[in-house]
Symmetry: C2
Protein backbone atom coordinates (compact mmCIF):
# COMPACT_ATOMS: atom_id res chain seq x y z
CA UNK A 1 0.00 0.00 0.00
CA UNK A 2 1.48 3.38 -0.94
CA UNK A 3 1.88 6.03 1.75
CA UNK A 4 0.89 9.65 2.13
CA UNK A 5 2.94 12.30 3.94
CA UNK A 6 2.58 16.07 4.30
CA UNK A 7 5.31 18.73 4.12
CA UNK A 8 4.04 21.92 5.75
CA UNK A 9 6.43 24.32 4.09
CA UNK A 10 8.74 24.53 1.07
CA UNK A 11 11.43 25.32 3.67
CA UNK A 12 11.17 21.71 4.92
CA UNK A 13 11.23 20.04 1.53
CA UNK A 14 14.88 18.97 1.83
CA UNK A 15 13.79 16.63 4.63
CA UNK A 16 11.64 14.61 2.23
CA UNK A 17 12.91 12.16 -0.34
CA UNK A 18 10.69 12.90 -3.33
CA UNK A 19 12.33 10.55 -5.84
CA UNK A 20 9.85 8.08 -7.30
CA UNK A 21 6.99 9.79 -5.50
CA UNK A 22 4.01 11.90 -6.47
CA UNK A 23 3.95 15.41 -5.08
CA UNK A 24 0.67 17.24 -4.72
CA UNK A 25 1.55 20.93 -4.72
CA UNK A 26 -1.04 23.04 -2.96
CA UNK A 27 -1.55 26.76 -2.44
CA UNK A 28 -5.27 27.01 -1.78
CA UNK A 29 -5.31 30.83 -1.49
CA UNK A 30 -4.94 31.15 -4.33
CA UNK A 31 -2.30 29.90 -6.79
CA UNK A 32 -3.28 26.27 -7.25
CA UNK A 33 -7.02 27.01 -7.05
CA UNK A 34 -6.55 29.58 -9.79
CA UNK A 35 -4.47 27.22 -11.95
CA UNK A 36 -7.17 24.56 -11.67
CA UNK A 37 -9.82 27.12 -12.60
CA UNK A 38 -7.76 28.19 -15.62
CA UNK A 39 -7.44 24.62 -16.93
CA UNK A 40 -11.17 24.07 -16.39
CA UNK A 41 -11.70 27.06 -18.67
CA UNK A 42 -9.50 25.86 -21.50
CA UNK A 43 -5.98 27.14 -20.79
CA UNK A 44 -3.53 24.95 -22.71
CA UNK A 45 -0.43 25.30 -20.53
CA UNK A 46 0.72 27.10 -17.39
CA UNK A 47 4.38 27.92 -16.86
CA UNK A 48 5.20 28.59 -13.19
CA UNK A 49 8.22 30.84 -12.69
CA UNK A 50 9.93 32.14 -9.57
CA UNK A 51 10.74 35.76 -10.46
CA UNK A 52 8.64 38.65 -11.73
CA UNK A 53 11.26 39.65 -14.33
CA UNK A 54 11.51 36.14 -15.77
CA UNK A 55 7.73 35.94 -15.91
CA UNK A 56 7.46 39.15 -17.95
CA UNK A 57 9.85 37.82 -20.62
CA UNK A 58 7.22 35.23 -21.61
CA UNK A 59 5.00 38.01 -23.03
CA UNK A 60 7.24 38.20 -26.11
CA UNK A 61 6.52 34.51 -26.79
CA UNK A 62 2.78 35.11 -27.03
CA UNK A 63 2.04 34.04 -23.47
CA UNK A 64 -0.24 35.78 -21.07
CA UNK A 65 1.61 36.80 -17.92
CA UNK A 66 0.27 36.60 -14.40
CA UNK A 67 1.76 37.77 -11.13
CA UNK A 68 0.70 38.34 -7.58
CA UNK A 69 2.75 39.70 -4.73
CA UNK A 70 1.35 39.93 -1.21
CA UNK A 71 -2.16 39.27 -2.40
CA UNK A 72 -2.51 41.79 -5.24
CA UNK A 73 -1.87 41.81 -9.01
CA UNK A 74 1.62 43.00 -9.83
CA UNK A 75 1.97 45.96 -12.17
CA UNK A 76 2.55 45.29 -15.88
CA UNK A 77 1.04 41.81 -15.95
CA UNK A 78 -2.06 40.61 -17.80
CA UNK A 79 -3.54 38.70 -14.89
CA UNK A 80 -3.40 38.53 -11.10
CA UNK A 81 -4.20 35.58 -8.90
CA UNK A 82 -7.99 35.67 -8.62
CA UNK A 83 -9.70 32.57 -10.04
CA UNK A 84 -12.46 34.83 -11.39
CA UNK A 85 -9.95 36.36 -13.83
CA UNK A 86 -9.34 32.95 -15.40
CA UNK A 87 -12.85 32.06 -16.54
CA UNK A 88 -13.03 33.47 -20.05
CA UNK A 89 -10.96 34.31 -23.09
CA UNK A 90 -8.13 31.93 -22.19
CA UNK A 91 -8.94 28.95 -24.45
CA UNK A 92 -5.78 27.46 -25.90
CA UNK A 93 -3.53 30.11 -24.36
CA UNK A 94 -0.33 29.62 -22.37
CA UNK A 95 -0.06 31.52 -19.11
CA UNK A 96 3.27 32.25 -17.40
CA UNK A 97 2.57 32.76 -13.72
CA UNK A 98 4.57 33.73 -10.66
CA UNK A 99 3.01 33.84 -7.20
CA UNK A 100 4.37 34.41 -3.71
CA UNK A 101 4.27 30.84 -2.46
CA UNK A 102 2.69 28.46 -4.94
CA UNK A 103 5.27 28.65 -7.70
CA UNK A 104 8.00 28.01 -5.19
CA UNK A 105 6.32 24.84 -3.94
CA UNK A 106 6.13 23.49 -7.50
CA UNK A 107 9.68 24.40 -8.49
CA UNK A 108 11.18 22.91 -5.35
CA UNK A 109 9.40 19.60 -5.97
CA UNK A 110 11.11 18.84 -9.26
CA UNK A 111 12.80 15.71 -7.88
CA UNK A 112 9.42 13.97 -7.75
CA UNK A 113 8.31 11.49 -10.38
CA UNK A 114 5.04 13.38 -10.79
CA UNK A 115 3.85 16.80 -9.61
CA UNK A 116 0.10 17.26 -9.47
CA UNK A 117 -1.63 20.58 -8.79
CA UNK A 118 -4.14 20.19 -5.98
CA UNK A 119 -6.98 22.32 -4.68
CA UNK A 120 -10.36 21.75 -3.11
CA UNK A 121 -11.83 22.59 -6.53
CA UNK A 122 -10.35 19.45 -8.13
CA UNK A 123 -10.01 17.33 -4.97
CA UNK A 124 -11.76 14.19 -6.20
CA UNK A 125 -9.99 14.31 -9.57
CA UNK A 126 -6.64 14.40 -7.71
CA UNK A 127 -7.75 11.56 -5.43
CA UNK A 128 -8.62 9.40 -8.44
CA UNK A 129 -5.36 10.27 -10.18
CA UNK A 130 -3.31 9.30 -7.11
CA UNK A 131 -5.20 6.03 -6.71
CA UNK A 132 -4.42 5.25 -10.34
CA UNK A 133 -0.73 6.19 -10.01
CA UNK A 134 -0.07 4.00 -6.94
CA UNK A 135 2.96 6.05 -5.97
CA UNK A 136 3.85 7.24 -2.48
CA UNK A 137 2.45 10.75 -2.07
CA UNK A 138 3.91 13.87 -0.45
CA UNK A 139 1.58 16.85 -0.19
CA UNK A 140 3.73 19.99 -0.39
CA UNK A 141 1.98 22.92 1.22
CA UNK A 142 3.00 26.32 -0.08
CA UNK A 143 2.46 27.85 3.35
CA UNK A 144 2.78 31.57 3.91
CA UNK A 145 6.29 32.90 3.30
CA UNK A 146 7.66 29.59 4.50
CA UNK A 147 5.45 29.25 7.56
CA UNK A 148 2.65 26.79 8.24
CA UNK A 149 -0.80 27.81 7.06
CA UNK A 150 -4.21 26.37 7.81
CA UNK A 151 -5.87 26.31 4.41
CA UNK A 152 -3.18 24.19 2.74
CA UNK A 153 -3.13 21.91 5.79
CA UNK A 154 -6.91 21.43 5.59
CA UNK A 155 -6.53 20.43 1.94
CA UNK A 156 -3.91 17.85 2.95
CA UNK A 157 -6.36 16.56 5.55
CA UNK A 158 -9.18 16.34 3.01
CA UNK A 159 -6.92 14.38 0.69
CA UNK A 160 -5.85 12.06 3.53
CA UNK A 161 -9.49 11.47 4.47
CA UNK A 162 -10.39 10.38 0.96
CA UNK A 163 -7.25 8.29 0.50
CA UNK A 164 -7.23 6.57 3.88
CA UNK A 165 -8.59 3.26 2.53
CA UNK A 166 -5.93 3.04 -0.17
CA UNK A 167 -2.90 4.74 1.38
CA UNK A 168 -1.10 4.32 4.70
CA UNK A 169 0.01 7.17 6.90
CA UNK A 170 1.74 7.07 10.22
CA UNK A 171 3.47 10.41 10.21
CA UNK A 172 2.31 13.15 12.51
CA UNK A 173 1.83 15.85 9.87
CA UNK A 174 -0.75 13.76 8.01
CA UNK A 175 -2.53 12.81 11.24
CA UNK A 176 -2.70 16.45 12.35
CA UNK A 177 -3.96 17.55 8.92
CA UNK A 178 -6.69 14.91 9.00
CA UNK A 179 -7.79 15.86 12.50
CA UNK A 180 -7.87 19.56 11.66
CA UNK A 181 -9.89 18.90 8.50
CA UNK A 182 -12.37 16.77 10.38
CA UNK A 183 -12.85 19.60 12.90
CA UNK A 184 -13.21 22.18 10.12
CA UNK A 185 -15.17 20.50 7.35
CA UNK A 186 -18.69 21.17 8.62
CA UNK A 187 -18.09 24.86 7.91
CA UNK A 188 -14.68 25.36 6.42
CA UNK A 189 -15.26 29.01 5.47
CA UNK A 190 -16.16 29.89 9.04
CA UNK A 191 -13.30 27.79 10.42
CA UNK A 192 -10.78 29.60 8.24
CA UNK A 193 -12.24 32.96 9.20
CA UNK A 194 -9.82 32.81 12.15
CA UNK A 195 -6.76 32.23 9.99
CA UNK A 196 -4.16 34.85 9.30
CA UNK A 197 -4.13 34.56 5.53
CA UNK A 198 -7.91 34.70 5.25
CA UNK A 199 -7.85 37.84 7.39
CA UNK A 200 -5.20 39.31 5.10
CA UNK A 201 -7.34 38.52 2.05
CA UNK A 202 -10.48 39.82 3.76
CA UNK A 203 -8.66 43.11 4.21
CA UNK A 204 -8.07 43.12 0.45
CA UNK A 205 -11.82 42.72 -0.07
CA UNK A 206 -11.67 39.31 -1.70
CA UNK A 207 -14.05 37.28 0.43
CA UNK A 208 -15.54 36.03 -2.83
CA UNK A 209 -12.24 34.41 -3.83
CA UNK A 210 -11.91 32.68 -0.46
CA UNK A 211 -15.39 31.14 -0.59
CA UNK A 212 -14.81 30.10 -4.19
CA UNK A 213 -11.47 28.39 -3.46
CA UNK A 214 -12.92 26.38 -0.58
CA UNK A 215 -15.60 24.68 -2.70
CA UNK A 216 -14.97 20.95 -3.11
CA UNK A 217 -15.08 19.02 -6.40
CA UNK A 218 -16.09 21.73 -8.81
CA UNK A 219 -13.72 20.77 -11.64
CA UNK A 220 -12.25 17.46 -12.77
CA UNK A 221 -8.98 18.77 -14.22
CA UNK A 222 -5.64 17.21 -13.21
CA UNK A 223 -2.81 19.66 -13.90
CA UNK A 224 0.53 17.84 -13.98
CA UNK A 225 4.09 19.07 -14.48
CA UNK A 226 5.45 17.99 -17.88
CA UNK A 227 8.54 19.34 -19.62
CA UNK A 228 8.70 22.75 -17.92
CA UNK A 229 4.98 23.42 -17.98
CA UNK A 230 1.77 22.31 -16.37
CA UNK A 231 -0.77 20.58 -18.58
CA UNK A 232 -4.10 18.99 -17.84
CA UNK A 233 -3.80 15.20 -18.07
CA UNK A 234 -7.49 14.66 -17.50
CA UNK A 235 -7.87 13.02 -20.91
CA UNK A 236 -5.15 10.42 -20.25
CA UNK A 237 -6.43 9.88 -16.80
CA UNK A 238 -9.99 9.17 -17.97
CA UNK A 239 -8.59 6.46 -20.25
CA UNK A 240 -6.57 4.90 -17.42
CA UNK B 1 -0.92 42.60 24.80
CA UNK B 2 2.06 40.35 23.98
CA UNK B 3 1.64 37.69 21.30
CA UNK B 4 2.29 33.97 21.05
CA UNK B 5 3.48 32.17 17.94
CA UNK B 6 4.61 28.59 17.28
CA UNK B 7 7.56 27.39 15.18
CA UNK B 8 7.01 23.73 14.27
CA UNK B 9 10.61 22.87 13.52
CA UNK B 10 14.13 24.15 14.19
CA UNK B 11 14.44 24.15 10.37
CA UNK B 12 11.94 27.03 10.24
CA UNK B 13 13.52 29.12 12.97
CA UNK B 14 15.17 31.54 10.53
CA UNK B 15 11.65 32.71 9.58
CA UNK B 16 11.04 34.03 13.10
CA UNK B 17 12.51 37.17 14.56
CA UNK B 18 13.39 36.10 18.10
CA UNK B 19 15.07 39.30 19.25
CA UNK B 20 13.47 40.72 22.36
CA UNK B 21 11.17 37.70 22.65
CA UNK B 22 10.82 34.74 24.96
CA UNK B 23 11.35 31.34 23.38
CA UNK B 24 9.81 28.27 24.96
CA UNK B 25 11.91 25.36 23.77
CA UNK B 26 10.01 22.09 23.82
CA UNK B 27 10.90 18.46 23.15
CA UNK B 28 8.23 16.57 25.07
CA UNK B 29 9.61 13.12 24.24
CA UNK B 30 11.86 13.44 26.06
CA UNK B 31 14.58 16.08 26.31
CA UNK B 32 12.76 18.99 27.89
CA UNK B 33 10.59 16.74 30.08
CA UNK B 34 13.77 15.11 31.36
CA UNK B 35 15.50 18.45 32.00
CA UNK B 36 12.51 19.65 34.00
CA UNK B 37 12.53 16.42 36.00
CA UNK B 38 16.24 16.82 36.70
CA UNK B 39 15.82 20.37 38.03
CA UNK B 40 12.89 19.22 40.18
CA UNK B 41 15.31 16.71 41.71
CA UNK B 42 18.03 19.16 42.53
CA UNK B 43 20.31 19.38 39.50
CA UNK B 44 22.20 22.68 39.66
CA UNK B 45 22.86 23.30 35.97
CA UNK B 46 22.29 21.65 32.62
CA UNK B 47 24.57 22.34 29.67
CA UNK B 48 22.96 21.46 26.34
CA UNK B 49 25.47 20.61 23.60
CA UNK B 50 25.02 19.63 19.97
CA UNK B 51 27.62 16.88 19.50
CA UNK B 52 28.37 13.64 21.33
CA UNK B 53 32.13 14.29 21.36
CA UNK B 54 31.75 17.78 22.81
CA UNK B 55 29.40 16.41 25.44
CA UNK B 56 31.90 13.77 26.60
CA UNK B 57 34.59 16.41 27.21
CA UNK B 58 32.52 17.78 30.10
CA UNK B 59 33.21 14.63 32.13
CA UNK B 60 36.72 15.91 32.90
CA UNK B 61 35.18 19.03 34.48
CA UNK B 62 33.23 16.97 36.99
CA UNK B 63 29.99 17.02 35.05
CA UNK B 64 27.71 14.10 34.50
CA UNK B 65 27.23 13.44 30.80
CA UNK B 66 23.99 12.47 29.12
CA UNK B 67 23.27 11.47 25.54
CA UNK B 68 20.51 9.90 23.54
CA UNK B 69 20.51 9.05 19.87
CA UNK B 70 17.41 7.67 18.15
CA UNK B 71 15.71 7.01 21.44
CA UNK B 72 18.39 5.10 23.36
CA UNK B 73 21.27 5.99 25.69
CA UNK B 74 24.51 6.53 23.80
CA UNK B 75 27.50 4.42 24.81
CA UNK B 76 30.03 5.87 27.27
CA UNK B 77 27.66 8.37 28.88
CA UNK B 78 26.43 8.48 32.49
CA UNK B 79 22.80 9.07 31.63
CA UNK B 80 20.34 8.64 28.77
CA UNK B 81 17.17 10.57 28.17
CA UNK B 82 14.62 8.86 30.44
CA UNK B 83 13.19 11.14 33.12
CA UNK B 84 13.29 8.23 35.54
CA UNK B 85 17.11 8.31 35.45
CA UNK B 86 17.10 11.88 36.77
CA UNK B 87 15.28 11.40 40.06
CA UNK B 88 18.06 10.66 42.51
CA UNK B 89 21.70 11.30 43.25
CA UNK B 90 21.89 14.43 41.13
CA UNK B 91 21.62 17.13 43.82
CA UNK B 92 23.91 20.04 43.06
CA UNK B 93 25.44 18.35 40.02
CA UNK B 94 25.95 19.79 36.54
CA UNK B 95 24.77 17.65 33.64
CA UNK B 96 26.04 18.11 30.08
CA UNK B 97 23.40 16.72 27.75
CA UNK B 98 23.05 16.17 24.02
CA UNK B 99 19.85 14.82 22.47
CA UNK B 100 18.63 14.30 18.93
CA UNK B 101 16.27 17.24 18.64
CA UNK B 102 15.92 19.13 21.90
CA UNK B 103 19.44 20.50 22.20
CA UNK B 104 19.21 21.78 18.67
CA UNK B 105 16.01 23.72 19.40
CA UNK B 106 17.67 25.43 22.38
CA UNK B 107 20.94 26.26 20.62
CA UNK B 108 19.18 27.70 17.56
CA UNK B 109 17.10 30.02 19.76
CA UNK B 110 20.02 31.96 21.17
CA UNK B 111 18.86 35.24 19.57
CA UNK B 112 15.93 35.35 21.98
CA UNK B 113 15.93 37.55 25.07
CA UNK B 114 14.93 34.57 27.21
CA UNK B 115 14.84 30.83 26.55
CA UNK B 116 12.58 28.82 28.82
CA UNK B 117 12.42 25.03 28.90
CA UNK B 118 8.84 23.85 28.56
CA UNK B 119 7.11 20.53 29.10
CA UNK B 120 3.71 19.37 30.28
CA UNK B 121 5.39 18.58 33.62
CA UNK B 122 6.05 22.28 34.33
CA UNK B 123 3.31 23.77 32.15
CA UNK B 124 1.70 26.06 34.73
CA UNK B 125 5.07 27.26 36.01
CA UNK B 126 6.00 28.26 32.44
CA UNK B 127 2.62 29.95 31.97
CA UNK B 128 3.14 32.02 35.12
CA UNK B 129 6.70 32.89 34.11
CA UNK B 130 5.55 34.11 30.67
CA UNK B 131 2.74 36.17 32.16
CA UNK B 132 5.31 37.79 34.45
CA UNK B 133 7.79 38.43 31.62
CA UNK B 134 5.27 40.16 29.31
CA UNK B 135 7.40 39.44 26.25
CA UNK B 136 6.16 38.15 22.90
CA UNK B 137 6.49 34.36 22.94
CA UNK B 138 7.64 31.91 20.27
CA UNK B 139 7.25 28.23 21.10
CA UNK B 140 10.05 26.38 19.31
CA UNK B 141 9.11 22.74 18.80
CA UNK B 142 12.02 20.35 18.49
CA UNK B 143 10.07 18.18 16.08
CA UNK B 144 11.45 14.90 14.81
CA UNK B 145 14.62 15.28 12.74
CA UNK B 146 13.31 18.61 11.51
CA UNK B 147 9.78 17.46 10.78
CA UNK B 148 6.54 18.39 12.53
CA UNK B 149 5.56 16.24 15.50
CA UNK B 150 2.33 15.96 17.42
CA UNK B 151 3.52 15.90 21.03
CA UNK B 152 5.41 19.20 20.85
CA UNK B 153 2.48 20.74 18.96
CA UNK B 154 0.05 19.63 21.66
CA UNK B 155 2.24 21.29 24.27
CA UNK B 156 2.15 24.52 22.23
CA UNK B 157 -1.63 24.20 22.15
CA UNK B 158 -1.82 23.66 25.90
CA UNK B 159 0.29 26.75 26.45
CA UNK B 160 -1.87 28.79 24.07
CA UNK B 161 -5.01 27.63 25.84
CA UNK B 162 -3.73 28.81 29.21
CA UNK B 163 -2.33 32.09 27.82
CA UNK B 164 -5.26 33.06 25.63
CA UNK B 165 -6.61 35.66 28.04
CA UNK B 166 -3.27 37.42 28.35
CA UNK B 167 -1.67 36.93 24.92
CA UNK B 168 -2.90 37.49 21.37
CA UNK B 169 -2.43 35.02 18.56
CA UNK B 170 -3.58 35.29 14.98
CA UNK B 171 -1.07 33.03 13.32
CA UNK B 172 -2.17 29.70 11.92
CA UNK B 173 0.38 27.53 13.72
CA UNK B 174 -0.88 28.63 17.13
CA UNK B 175 -4.51 28.18 16.09
CA UNK B 176 -3.83 24.69 14.76
CA UNK B 177 -1.92 23.76 17.93
CA UNK B 178 -4.78 24.96 20.13
CA UNK B 179 -7.38 23.05 18.09
CA UNK B 180 -5.33 19.86 18.15
CA UNK B 181 -4.78 20.15 21.91
CA UNK B 182 -8.48 20.70 22.51
CA UNK B 183 -9.25 17.55 20.51
CA UNK B 184 -6.58 15.57 22.37
CA UNK B 185 -6.70 16.70 25.95
CA UNK B 186 -9.47 14.45 27.22
CA UNK B 187 -7.08 11.51 26.73
CA UNK B 188 -3.75 12.73 25.50
CA UNK B 189 -1.97 9.39 25.97
CA UNK B 190 -4.52 7.63 23.78
CA UNK B 191 -4.49 10.45 21.23
CA UNK B 192 -0.72 10.27 20.89
CA UNK B 193 -0.87 6.49 20.58
CA UNK B 194 -1.35 7.13 16.84
CA UNK B 195 1.73 9.29 16.52
CA UNK B 196 4.92 8.14 14.88
CA UNK B 197 7.29 9.05 17.68
CA UNK B 198 5.16 7.40 20.34
CA UNK B 199 5.09 4.26 18.21
CA UNK B 200 8.89 4.42 17.91
CA UNK B 201 9.22 4.76 21.67
CA UNK B 202 6.66 2.00 22.27
CA UNK B 203 8.89 -0.25 20.21
CA UNK B 204 11.73 0.61 22.58
CA UNK B 205 9.54 -0.48 25.49
CA UNK B 206 9.30 2.89 27.15
CA UNK B 207 5.57 3.35 27.49
CA UNK B 208 6.25 4.40 31.06
CA UNK B 209 8.30 7.40 29.91
CA UNK B 210 5.58 8.52 27.51
CA UNK B 211 2.82 8.46 30.15
CA UNK B 212 5.12 10.24 32.57
CA UNK B 213 6.03 13.03 30.15
CA UNK B 214 2.38 13.74 29.32
CA UNK B 215 1.38 14.50 32.91
CA UNK B 216 0.48 18.15 33.44
CA UNK B 217 1.76 20.40 36.26
CA UNK B 218 3.85 17.96 38.25
CA UNK B 219 6.81 20.28 38.90
CA UNK B 220 7.07 24.05 39.33
CA UNK B 221 10.61 24.49 38.03
CA UNK B 222 11.41 27.10 35.37
CA UNK B 223 14.66 26.22 33.61
CA UNK B 224 16.04 29.24 31.78
CA UNK B 225 19.12 29.71 29.58
CA UNK B 226 21.77 31.82 31.35
CA UNK B 227 25.40 32.20 30.38
CA UNK B 228 25.82 28.92 28.47
CA UNK B 229 23.83 26.79 30.87
CA UNK B 230 20.27 26.18 31.96
CA UNK B 231 19.41 27.04 35.55
CA UNK B 232 16.16 26.93 37.46
CA UNK B 233 14.90 30.49 38.07
CA UNK B 234 12.01 29.29 40.19
CA UNK B 235 13.34 31.17 43.23
CA UNK B 236 13.49 34.52 41.40
CA UNK B 237 10.17 33.85 39.83
CA UNK B 238 8.47 33.17 43.16
CA UNK B 239 9.73 36.55 44.36
CA UNK B 240 8.39 38.31 41.26
Amino acid sequence: MPSIDVCYSPELIHLYDLKGKAVVAVDILRATSTMVTAFAHGVAQIIPVMQLEECLTFASQGCLTAAERDGIKAEGFDLGNSPFSYMEGLEGRTVAITTTNGTRAIRLSEDAQEIVIGSFLNLQAVVQHLVNLQLDVVVVCAGWKGKFNLEDTLFAGALAERLQEDFSFENDATLASLHLYQAAKADIVKYLGQSSHVKRLANLNIHKDVSFCLQHDVYDVVPVWQQDALVDVRANYKLA
